[in-house]
């Protein structure tokens, strides 16, 4: 279920919705987007304030319109690294003093880098909001980027790459990204490639910071507090200190500096990790972008295949065959290219059997050419019934809504979601399967090659054996 909620939540973040001043909308049965007010600061920032008095907490999200997609060539991971470094020293506080001050206020300050946004978040108790704002904006406006902290964090980051190798599923999905998106700007890993991170300098960081810090196109959400308690006006004062600077041009988006990985298309990419008792198996092909109009139908198919204990793959792989504890999959909706994938883990001696069983199950699904009316009705009930979970509490709802504002998909997501589900029918399902679901997969297996290779040979599967480090 957690996966389901996260998936839905992420889609919310990547969608978009129209708004009005003082808006209050119906979104599905029994649910309403909280009333909010929109302000425009003198330097052009849009501030969305969602008053909330039931809990004495606030969350502030400042989204600056510079994301990882414009990391300079050969400097992947720079924006992400820069935001991490911003809290290691600010004017008036070294790293230790900054940490103490955070604890004094019980304040959480975080940052995240997406494709097109750098998002800084602060949260804490309303009564400390003024002091938390002060610290938060020191981090944004006055970072000192101390050189010793730069060196330590860079070393830690580089060592962190080594630990990716410890996790079979992390290795598997890094490999899938490299194989499916080679050279594409979509689905880049914004924490960067090992070879790029190793070349980062303090000069790169400072230069990137100057580019990132702009009010032009920035969006801000304040959840909590009221107009009366001064939290909004106080915030506007801080926001207006962010300088107006031009956004980085789209021309800066360069070809992703991957070394081309030319594995034969029909070969399984077998990533060798000796000693593992289980193998991770991932099937994938390129999927639709997040701007796809048939989103709800794809969600229904995803549910049919994976997202309940009675879904097709859970039923066959887990319940009937006992081959795995769990099997997951579905669509990942990205800016341009998405991904369809199937992922499971199985005992090493059953690796080839699982590969064949997934192929057979998926092929059978394509051959059945759609879903029956009762199946579709069941899926519609599932999707409609799970809709309220996206709107679970005030904070989930508002954060999701702000996510819509940062996205660029369709303008009426809340208003149309339930209706679109109601309109799913057999013909639509068949069209979507025809349009988006392919016959051919790339297969990645992470496991003990010595034990897996004889199995693959026995069932006539070709493979290319590689080391996990190749995908860092």
């Amino acid at each position: 279920m957690k996966n389901k909620i996260i998936t839905l939540f992420m889609v919310f973040l990547l969608s978009s919705c129209a708004h009005k001043e003082e808006s209050k909308k119906s979104v599905g049965k029994n649910t309403v987007i909280p009333a909010h007010k929109i302000y425009k600061t003198k330097n052009g920032i849009e501030l969305y304030h969602f008053p909330y008095e039931a809990t004495p907490l606030f969350t502030l999200m400042v989204a600056l319109p510079v994301g990882g997609i414009t990391d300079p060539k050969g400097k992947s991971g720079l924006t992400n690294f820069m935001t991490d470094l911003m809290r290691t020293g600010v004017e008036g506080y070294d790293e230790a003093a900054f940490s103490v001050r955070l604890d004094d206020l019980a304040a959480s300050l975080n940052s995240a880098v997406t494709e097109r946004w750098t998002i800084f978040t602060a949260s804490g108790l309303n009564r400390e909001s003024s002091s938390i704002y002060d610290l938060f904006f020191k981090m944004i406006l006055e970072p000192t980027f101390p050189i010793d902290k730069f060196s330590r964090m860079k070393n830690n980051l580089l060592e962190g790459f080594d630990h990716v190798v410890d996790s079979p599923s992390s290795v598997a999905f890094r490999a899938v990204a490299r194989i499916q998106y080679n050279g594409s700007k979509s689905a880049r890993n914004f924490s960067g490639l090992l070879k790029d991170v190793s070349t980062l300098t303090i000069h790169d960081v400072k230069e990137r910071y100057e580019e990132m810090l702009t009010s032009e196109g920035a969006k801000v959400a304040l959840i909590g507090g009221t107009e009366a308690n001064g939290m909004v006006q106080n915030l506007i004062g801080f926001l207006e200190k962010i300088p107006v600077a031009p956004k980085i041009s789209e021309n800066r988006i360069h070809k992703w500096d991957y070394k081309e990985l030319n594995f034969p298309e029909n070969n399984i990419v077998l990533i060798d990790k000796p000693g593992l008792r289980q193998s991770d198996v991932v099937f994938s092909y390129k999927g639709p972008s997040r701007k796809v109009p048939e989103y709800e139908t794809l969600r229904a198919i995803e549910n049919y295949l994976f997202e309940s204990q009675n879904s097709l793959f859970q039923r066959v792989i887990r319940e009937e065959k006992g081959l795995s504890y769990s099997i997951s999959g579905g669509f990942r909706f990205e800016d341009e290219l998405g991904l369809f994938h199937i992922h499971t883990a199985t005992s090493v001696e059953k690796t080839a059997e699982v590969v064949l069983e997934i192929e057979k199950t998926y092929k059978g699904f394509l051959e059945q050419k759609g879903l029956s009316d009762p199946e579709i009705a069941r899926l519609q009930n599932m999707l409609k019934g799970s809709f309220p979970f996206m709107l679970d509490n005030h904070y989930v709802l508002v954060q999701s809504y702000f996510g819509l504002l940062l996205g660029d998909v369709r303008k009426n997501f809340y208003d149309t979601y339930v209706d679109n589900i109601s309109h799913i029918n057999g013909a639509l399902v068949r069209n979507v399967i025809e349009k988006y679901m392919h016959k051919n997969f790339r297969i990645v297996v992470v496991g003990d090659a010595k034990k897996i290779i004889p199995q693959l040979k026995k069932v006539g599967k070709k493979y290319t054996k590689v080391r996990p480090q190749q995908f860092l």
Binding site: M1, N30, E53, A54, T55, P56, L57, E95, A96, S99, V100, L102, D103, D104, A106, L125, N126, R127, R152, N156, E159, G160, D162, H163, V165, D166, P168, K273, P274, G275, L276, R277, Q278, S308, Q309, N310, R318, E319, G322, L323, S324, Y325, S326, A345, T346, S347, R378, N381, M382, L383, K384, G385, S386, P388, F389, L391, D392, N393, H394, Y395
Partner: protein
């Protein structure tokens, strides 16, 4: 979730109480209507009403986990958790999950040392459905050989995924073994593979009959419910289940560590990992609260001593984490350090000991202690944003103390925990002779 929140339940109750009686920012707590009742058959029912969103959470806590398992039968509590989803005469096969999931809800379960917990989240219009389904499978579960055979395979796969394939789990298991030799806490909850394969249908039937009884169960329903009507519904569906007197269980003695025990394992990981476990008392002991504050001050908050010294200043560790679990029996306070820059784990232990020694001679300042309490307060405010969140926290008080109000009444002294209390528990528990150490060396397994 459960183990960590278990200790938090005590802390949460204290702040919960504090907020209710004095703080003008108590809104999130006082708005929830609560009700509890013990039915004649022993079933404890705890209800929390929150009409803000049309969702409910339905949680069934059974007082059985790996602590109750005998040698040779390890893993049965967890395997049986899987069997609870295999159907009744009324809901054959996967009828339970299908009924919940086809309505957009979700259902799952987990097994710990002390408990097995089943939970479902669904739109509130389906409350009666869940009461029917859950009361049904508490007494009418159908078990058969075919399902058992398949579920064993699934559990073995789960074990390989969570345990065999995860070298950090090997290290934890080694720590449990040396700290709790001869006691069920010395084994991983999921059980040994051979034991799981050897479990029989009769084992499962006996287990069900012995432990899945109303008097061994806490039922927690929260969210968009009317507490009075819900209680009536629960009485109607569960009330007819006969009362069965529970056998008193005698657990093996949990012997103190007595002398520092060290073990080294080698795995193909990228750097050394240090794991240190200190024996701590069982869940009802007064020392758990200052121990928990000590843990936060040393390892958890932004300005914690460990982060400042081990990561920032000495640069010996990439990450430091800790966990403290108050349980039915004496358990462990675990510290894990992932070494950085090729630093051996032994150096990490040396630095850790220096930090702990300091807690014996230099009390935390009032500001340092206040910072820890700030975070606890914030955590509680955040947790209480929904009635389901409040129910989740208080349910552990209901489970362990028999009545969540007892936890409330015991919690009044919390804000008075002092730096001297922290020093005292450090002296009592963070001693070398009270700990086990497992070092995982990065290397090739021979």
């Amino acid at each position: 979730m459960a183990a960590r929140e278990h200790i938090l339940k005590i802390i949460s109750l204290i702040f919960f109480l504090g907020s209710m009686v004095g703080c003008d920012e108590a809104g999130p707590f006082v708005n929830y209507k609560m009700k509890r009742e013990v039915l004649p058959n022993g079933l404890r029912v705890f209800l929390v009403e929150d009409r803000s969103v049309s969702l409910i959470n339905y949680t069934t806590m059974i007082k059985v986990g790996s602590l109750w398992e005998k040698e040779g039968k390890t893993g049965i509590a967890h395997l049986f958790e899987h069997m609870m989803f295999q159907g009744t005469a009324q809901n054959r096969g996967k009828g339970f999950t299908e009924a919940v999931e086809s309505r957009g809800g979700s259902t799952n379960a987990y097994t710990k040392r002390d408990m097995t917990v089943y939970y479902s989240d669904i739109a509130s219009e389906h409350l009666e459905l869940l009461v029917n389904l859950e009361s049904d499978r508490l007494v009418n579960l159908e078990l058969n050989e075919k399902v058992l055979a398949n579920e064993k395979k699934v559990v073995i796969e789960e074990r390989r995924m969570r345990f065999d394939n995860d070298y950090y789990s090997h290290q934890i298991a080694a720590l449990y073994e040396i700290m709790f030799a001869g006691h069920p806490y010395g084994r991983d909850v999921i059980g040994y593979e051979d034991d799981i394969n050897g479990l029989t249908l009769k084992d499962c039937q006996d287990f069900y009959k012995k432990y899945y009884q109303p008097a061994n169960t806490v039922l927690v329903i929260s969210g968009d419910i009317d507490t009075d009507k819900t209680l009536d519904l629960v009485k109607k569906k569960y009330g007819s289940i006969p009362k069965v007197e529970l056998e008193k269980t005698q657990f093996p003695d949990s012997k103190p560590v007595g002398v520092e025990i060290r073990k080294t394992i080698t795995r193909p990981v990228e750097s050394d990992v240090l794991l240190v476990g200190y024996r701590i008392p069982s869940q009802e002991h007064d020392d758990l609260l200052p121990l928990f504050l000590l843990k936060m001050a040393l390892f958890d908050i932004n300005s914690s001593v460990a982060k400042e010294v081990l990561i920032n200043e000495k640069k010996v560790a990439l990450a430091v984490a800790s966990e403290l679990q108050g349980q039915w029996q004496p358990s462990e306070f675990v510290i894990r350090m992932v070494m950085g820059g090729g630093t051996p784990a032994e150096r990490g232990l040396f630095e850790l000991d220096k930090i702990i020694d300091q807690t014996l001679t230099e009390p935390f300042t009032s500001n340092e202690l206040a910072r820890v309490k700030n975070w606890v307060e914030l955590f509680l405010m955040s947790s209480a944003m929904s009635g389901r969140g409040v129910a989740s926290l208080l349910s552990f008080g209901e489970f362990y103390d028999g009545d969540y109000r007892i936890s409330l009444s015991q919690a009044a002294d919390f804000k008075n925990v002092t730096a001297a209390d922290l020093m005292k528990v450090s002296r009592i528990y963070l001693r070398p002779e009270n700990r086990g150490i497992v070092i995982m060396k990065a290397g090739v397994v021979q």
